[in-house]
Subunit: 304 residues, 2 copies
């Protein structure tokens, strides 16, 4: 797809999906989802972000239009014959419990991400949740990025552990759920798991704990951030991706890697995650103003 | 029991127990436990605390000696014919999951707490986890305390709901676990539950989330505090009581009820809870120095 935007400062590779989701409140069919969609949308409020991914011919033009309206560069989003990746799942009353009903890779089955010329020098790269082999493919094409982060999920720990370990060995920061961190390392608690993961390569580890917030570890420090207490969670899908997108977007926007930058970025991440869960799909993110974000950031700062 | 201590600024009513506990690491039989034991021990580092409770003739003198060494006033601790209250339980590998094996009320069956003369004017009162009827008995005897807080547990929500609601209607602050707050109110999340609970009387609600920290609600503000990340949890028993004791002890020590006092108190509470879980029984608390506490408080402050 063509683009009219400046070179992205942050590139995000990940999934673009049509999700079918049932919560205790509502059911939605074929709504816009995917790790790259949430991460880019969240990042777009802080920096020039570019999306690397793939969709099928059935991908509605209104979604592409939404990405563009958010200022997301789409030079790396391929559109090919076939159907868009689809995921469907059900949340129980306790929204921390999710069952996957179906995953149809569709166009992702034969996808090999290729960075457009303007992307290979991007200083910030976020490898959103997607197969570690595809994450590695992106890294191979990048020229000396300043800071690379990766997210992952339980599926890859089970099915592509070797590739995932390779990814972890090549990135500056890993984002991972608390339960996945324990699974991956065999450790009994987050502190030990984070240490183990840092020994695999990354200088920073972010342990995501959903409604319980997050922990940022470096070799010298720990930073603890509670989640923003939202009045009602409508759909947790994409919260972790929005968190990560907010984090990487803010970091790219600040253009710095000091401890203070990371802490500001974790705050932004927490705020974007909280907006995400207040609606289905990108509904909680897509109409935000910078003022909304600033207001909630101040509120969260006052609570901590 | 006689006392040589100054009038307590904080009185704590609760259980004094001999616990038998099995974790995945170790099993211990008849070790010192009980909500009043943990709460008083934690509070003792910040203020003059007095314990109201009951033990049997089998209660080892070394435990009473430990309380005294910590500076806890024991004028309100009765020792009667019969056996001390006993609780036994097992923790699963995931230490958040606990099964009660047995509860023997013993001397608690016929206990009716009576405040010694020096206690009725205490400005701070903590009704630690114990039957709400006993909590009410203490409140009836207190003369115009400045600040009263209560803790509770799922058992009383199920078996003594009416009395518990009466307690909640009479206290300034309620401490309660996240899952218990949802149970008690029928709300789906902590924010809604805290609002509902404040409508029942208390001006402040503390939602305890174990390893995920705590939330302090007032009608005007929310304060979010992550837990201190301990390297290894040895025994979570008493963590909530130590948290509450640290909170009330610090509040009494500061002798103030401003928002800043409460935030300092929540920090102290979090620190005392974290020391508690590092050992069985009162092992994590009993040999602390003020320096240990100050050091961990600074560390936690730096992480948040």
């Amino acid at each position: 797809m063509k683009t009219k935007f400046p070179r992205p400062k942050l590139i995000v590779v990940g999934s673009v999906a049509l999700d079918s989701i049932a919560t205790q409140h509502a059911s939605k069919k074929d709504i816009l989802g995917g790790s790259a969609s949430f991460a880019c949308a969240a990042a777009s409020f802080f920096t020039a972000a570019g999306m690397v991914g793939i969709v099928g011919r059935d991908f509605p033009a209104r979604h592409t239009a939404l990405f563009r309206r958010l200022g997301i560069d789409l030079a790396g989003l391929r559109r090919v014959r076939g159907k868009t990746f689809r995921w469907s799942g059900v949340y129980e009353r306790d929204m921390n419990v999710r069952r996957t009903l179906a995953t149809h890779l569709n166009v992702f089955e034969s996808f090999s991400p290729e960075l457009p010329p303007g992307y290979v020098n991007a200083p910030f790269i976020f490898l959103a949740n997607i197969s570690p082999q595809l994450q590695l493919r992106v890294l191979e094409q990048a020229r000396r990025p300043r800071f690379v982060a990766a997210d992952t999920m339980d599926l890859w720990i089970k099915t592509e552990r070797k590739s995932l370990e390779k990814v972890i060995g090549k990135v500056d920061m890993l984002l991972i759920n608390d339960s996945e961190a324990l699974d991956l390392t065999g450790c009994r608690n987050a502190v030990a798991a984070a240490k183990r993961l840092m020994n695999m390569g990354p200088s920073r580890i972010v342990i995501k704990k959903g409604e319980h917030g997050s922990m940022l570890f470096s070799r010298k420090s720990v930073f603890l951030m509670p989640a923003f207490p939202v009045a009602e969670v409508h759909d947790p899908t994409g919260a972790g991706d929005s968190f990560a997108g907010g984090l990487m977007g803010k970091l790219a926007g600040l253009d710095g890697l000091t401890e203070s930058c990371f802490r500001q970025a974790i705050l932004a991440a927490t705020v974007m995650g909280s907006f995400c869960v207040e609606g289905f799909s990108l509904d909680g993110l897509k109409n935000l103003s910078k003022q909304d974000i600033a207001k909630r950031s101040s509120a969260l700062r006052a609570m901590t």
